[in-house]
Amino acid sequence: MKIHASCHCGYIKFEGEADPEKVTVCHCTDCQTSTGTAFRTNVPIPGPSFKLVSGEPATYIKTTAESGNPRAQTFCPKCGTPLYSTNPGDGPKPSYMVRVGILRERDQLTPKVQIWTRSSRPWVNSLEAVRKTEKGLT
């Protein structure tokens, strides 16, 4: 399916073609820190389908993966929104791991697999017990 991405401030926009069967949740500690929350949600898009429509992402090269592989993590330099990760360096990329929260189509993208669950927050599996409000704190 076609996906449309935008950061919060609108400076960065890009598009691509995603397979909804490949949406994942990543519970690794790198993703917890880099998102500031419990896990990341990702969907890969093939390199040839990626089209940057506007803006110039900032890039951080992460070298802490257990595999030792460096990874380019991009974000909007103006509002900080995480955008995607990909292979470091110049030239065409085989694929981009896009952050699902920035997609217009995110409500249609249900994760099919969770990875690195050995570091998942235990409470993620028992949210039924948490008090909920429809809007903000009252």
Binding site: T35, T37, T41, T64, V100, P111, I115, W123, R131, K132
Partner: protein
């Protein structure tokens, strides 16, 4: 409880004293976009105990549904979200992004807010196939 935190690259470091009973999930669409994922986890810290130890975050001003403006702070080098706070002087809280807190293993959310825009699959997360690694 006393906490300390850091962004992913280590440029930003901070410390403070939080009330673990006030840790919350926020499902608002702003948090979904700004975190790039399904929800944010926040831990409020009063300005009286919050202290930046290193680094200078970039500030983005967001205007919410209420019309209120909020500063959203993130690391300019690695992009990790750090906190939000009202613009201007205190007294005020900084809503720390719990994923950057070193003691996050001990922080269990007690409230979920803006549940009307919660991603539907979260309620069934235990049915999603899980792998210990990748």
């Amino acid at each position: 409880m006393k906490i300390n935190g850091t962004c992913h690259c280590g440029y930003i470091t901070y410390k403070g004293e939080i009330d673990p009973e006030k840790v919350a999930l926020c499902h608002c669409t702003d948090c979904q976009t700004l975190s790039g994922t399904a929800f944010r986890v926040i831990a409020p810290v009063p300005d009286t105990s919050f202290k930046m130890l290193g680094g200078e975050p970039t500030i983005y001003i967001k205007t919410g549904e209420s019309g209120n403006r909020r500063e959203q702070a993130f690391c300019p080098r690695c992009g990790a979200p750090i906190y939000s706070t009202p613009p201007g002087a205190g007294p005020k809280n900084y809503n720390l992004r719990a994923g950057t807190i070193r003691q996050r293993n001990q922080l269990v959310p007690k409230n979920e807010i803006w549940a009307r825009s919660k991603q539907a699959w979260i309620n069934d997360i235990t049915s999603i196939h899980s792998l210990e690694k990748q």
